[in-house]
Amino acid sequence: MLTPVLAPMAGAAISLSAVPDPVFSQAMVGPGAAIDPAREPGHALAPISGRIVKLHPHAYVIEAPDGRGVLVHLGIDTVQLKGAGFEPLVAEGDPVRAGQPVVSWNPADVEAGGRSPICPVVALDTPASAVLRVAAGPVHAGDELFQWD
């Protein structure tokens, strides 16, 4: 079954290998893609429908009913911000629809603080071959970023 995985925010779709963090660029967490986000305040959206199994201010994991999980990480090394600048809009355990806002943040603030605002979007517990049709270039929030076979 193909699961469309949506861009959580507007920006430029880039390869995971271009993310400035080896944990993501070497696909240690899993395969996927990344968004170099537009530098404007906005909402990070749910890339798939499912349940919020983990919600940190700077990262979240959504698990679909079929068990597929997607991680969205808002910027690099943003765990160091200890939540400052991130406002969760849902709670852990909540069901969400693909495209629903999950966290409010501003990539420009993350960048101004000296960190990369690039957002990895990672398919968990799956081989690289399961990630298909990865977008490249400008995307709107909610556009398809890749398909998960």
Partner: protein, 87 residues
């Protein structure tokens, strides 16, 4: 059944690099490997699943219990314990 009880020393807990390394190492094991959080309410989860390990949300200073069964279980658990206890 072999078991190790480890206090997680990584500043970020079992997230990001430590989580990815932990799961990659567990995945290489021939047998089932589980991880549970001391004081947690949930049952042990599959240590080979990055989704399960991230959802477990192990933080700096938390104690985890990892288990494996069968030939080579001690070696697998020693490797995982070293990853989990690294700063």
């Amino acid at each position: 059944m072999a078991e190790r009880k480890i206090t997680v020393e990584s500043e970020v807990g079992l997230h990001a690099r430590p989580a990815a390394t932990f799961v990659q190492t567990a995945t290489k094991a021939a047998m089932d490997v589980t991880i549970a959080k001391m004081g947690g309410t949930g049952a042990p989860v599959n240590a080979k699943s990055i989704l399960s390990v991230l959802a477990l949300d192990v933080r700096h200073g938390d104690t985890i219990i990892i288990t494996a069964d069968g030939e080579g279980a001690d070696a697998v658990l020693d490797q995982l314990a070293a990853i989990a206890s690294a700063t």
